[in-house]
Symmetry: C2
Subunit: 413 residues, 2 copies
């Protein structure tokens, strides 16, 4: 018997049929004797419907009232799911974020959880009930309804699991778990049985978006075993765990992430003086533009090239800023390349394995892929390459690091 916190997202509860299927799944856990706390999102489409209503009233709706409005979405789901459980003969009780005192700060529409008091939920579990909690929402110290921002239901689930000291937090979604890379790009992409929090963070922030980053951070911090699995298909999914708890797999690399929507800016020929990188990057950041990869390269003649990437949608604005600065920077040239992408190898195994970078560069060279930028961190190596090489690069790396499913396909497909 275990205490499990399960989270079902919007598509998993997107219709009455889906809600019934979720109730069936929960019933299975109850039958095995587990205690279950369920966190649900709004039915898919509902948050958009409510947002559209608000936007009809005003372009920038009052954040406090937006939270009052949007929090109804999850409240509808908790009630319907409890009914579906009751119909099957399983005791169930729904609770809003406020009712189980998910205390947050007062930053409406993007609040952060500060504290959860688990007593109310534990008492209800002891009565043999399934506890169904509205995700994405809480209350502040004055009893105002707050929301955690889009996708915040993952965070609600992890925070509840931490507060309740649950044995596992299961995030049900529309994918079977975390893959070595995007199966739409590489046919043989393999479902990972386990992955570390750090790897997951790198994979998630680099584009393999399965879980909310904040939820993963939270789970890592509070040492909550987190599992991603499908609401629609059977399977064990992927367990995200602390490094020391994982039995080391043979593979040194967990997966390959990629990002399509970046652009590269280069300011060339600036003098090689202290503070020059700040003079270039500072004004761009101050304009609210997120800067990703940054490399600086001093030439023998004492001049410098500074190259960095931003989201493609921000790239024109960034260029304008740099062109205005160009004279004062004494730059020779400012250039923008929108046709790039970023490909990253992620794996905690890199720490103890030499030669990963060399193997990566060789695999790309063998395919005649030119690398524009290289950056490395403790558990990842990213390269920026021409956009047209994205699929080729990902497949080459997937193959070079033998990430594919070792089982030969049964059918001829």
């Amino acid at each position: 018997m275990a205490l499990i916190v399960q989270k079902y997202g919007g598509t998993s509860v997107g219709s009455i049929d889906r809600i019934e299927a979720v109730a069936e799944k929960i019933a299975g856990f109850r039958d095995r004797g587990d205690e279950v706390v369920v966190v649900v999102s709004a039915m898919s489409g509902e948050t958009n419907r409510l947002t559209a209503l608000a936007m009809e009233v005003m372009d920038a709706p009052t954040p406090r009232e937006m939270d009052v409005l949007l929090s109804t979405g999850e409240q509808v789901t908790i009630a319907l799911l409890c009914m579906a459980l009751e119909k099957r003969g399983y005791g169930a009780r729904s609770f809003t974020g406020g009712q189980v005192r998910i205390l947050t700060d007062s930053a409406h529409t993007r609040a952060r959880i500060r504290e959860i008091d688990g007593t109310r939920i534990h008492a209800q579990l002891e009565q043999g009930d399934v506890v169904v909690v509205a995700g994405f929402q809480g209350i502040d110290d004055w009893g105002n309804i707050t929301t955690l921002g889009r996708g915040g239901s993952d965070t609600s689930a992890v925070a509840l699991a931490a507060a309740l000291e649950a044995d596992e937090c299961q995030i049900y979604t529309d994918v079977k778990g975390v893959y070595t890379t995007d199966p739409r790009v590489v046919d043989s992409a393999r479902l990972l049985a386990t992955i570390t929090f750090e790897e997951m963070l790198e994979l998630a922030s680099l584009g393999a978006k399965v879980l909310q980053i904040r939820a993963v951070e939270f789970a890592g911090k509070y040492r909550v075993p987190l599992r991603v699995l499908s609401s629609f298909e059977e399977g064990e999914g992927t367990l995200i765990s602390l490094e020391e708890e994982l039995v080391m797999e043979e593979a040194t690399i967990a997966g390959i992430a990629f990002e399509r929507d970046e652009a590269k800016l280069t300011v060339s020929g600036v003098p090689d003086v202290p503070g020059i990188a700040y003079k270039v990057i500072g004004p761009v950041s101050e304009a609210g533009i997120e800067v990703d990869v940054i490399v600086q390269n001093a030439a023998a003649d004492g001049s410098n090239d500074i190259t960095f990437t931003v989201k493609r949608r921000d790239s024109e604005q960034a260029r304008e800023i740099l062109e205005k600065l160009s004279a004062s920077l004494k730059a020779r040239d400012v250039s923008l390349d929108k046709k790039i992408c970023k490909v990253s190898l992620v794996g905690v195994g890199m720490r103890s394995h030499a030669g990963i970078a060399a193997r990566m560069f060789k695999a790309l060279a063998d395919e005649n892929i030119n690398i524009d930028i290289i950056t490395t961190s403790e558990i990842k190596i990213s390269v920026v390459v021409g956009e047209k090489y994205l699929e080729l690069a990902v497949r080459a790396l997937h193959s070079a690091f033998e990430l594919g499913d070792p089982q030969p396909a049964i059918s001829g497909n």
Copy 2:
């Protein structure tokens, strides 16, 4: 400057445009310096939509969860109305029933308000804000969400007005106020400027459904001046007040109510012995059938006819019950007449005016309308007549008691 509680029903907030119009109306009161507390219903159609979702899950949805579900309807409206006020530059704060501690009993889907703590609302009013409260809902002692049952928003408004000691409780609806009778039946039906709580109760329960009966009872009990008026048209509406506060109008009769959906059952020839009425009515009541008018008529031969009315939809079931009892009752016959209706004169003036009944019967006789049953109470006289005479009877009485608008119509219509 007054403290006014206003309630807007589902059609008054049925679309974003309507909500904007309500915000305009509230703005007008704020501009005059009034403090305003607003109670709103769910947008029209929303409660039905949510109920349909629940019914898809189960035929008899868990009452506790039904309340969690339905209470979201009003929560959506309070948020949108606050946004519409904020857009116009008026400070506004929304509150759920739970947030302003509208404490009820735990009878889910039909809870009764036990207590309201006005401090939170008063504090917000002092900050110059419009306070917008979700109608129809509250919480019980354990923090469970409860609802007051359909139409309960009227009760929420009156209870809030009582707790806050408001100067007036205004119920905005889709009619201009309370009329002497249904304007669809009598063209010259006149809008009443004032009416007493007692008259209003009799008119409401007799079919002129403008306000929830419970809300009127509540207002009478706590001496809350209650005004019914239109959200869509200008006008002072009808003030419902305590008898002693009203300047006596000339008229002794407030209005004429009628009920179309009744049926009449007669058990004839039962012995005239003590307890016989109970033996007839008891089993019908116990079957959950509401019995309205009851008359008993002892004949000279020692036998008895007992006649009563029930809702037409219950009448076949009532007949079956009586036919089964027939032998043990020693009844000669059980008959059912579905083609009847009830017409009632209501007015506190009856107390001090003799001859009202006679004048009523004469007016009906002049039109050759045969009366089946007569019952009287302190402030009303009801007659049961053939259904086909309904309009004729109402018009005859309206004219006989000079209830019509004394102003001649300006146009030829």
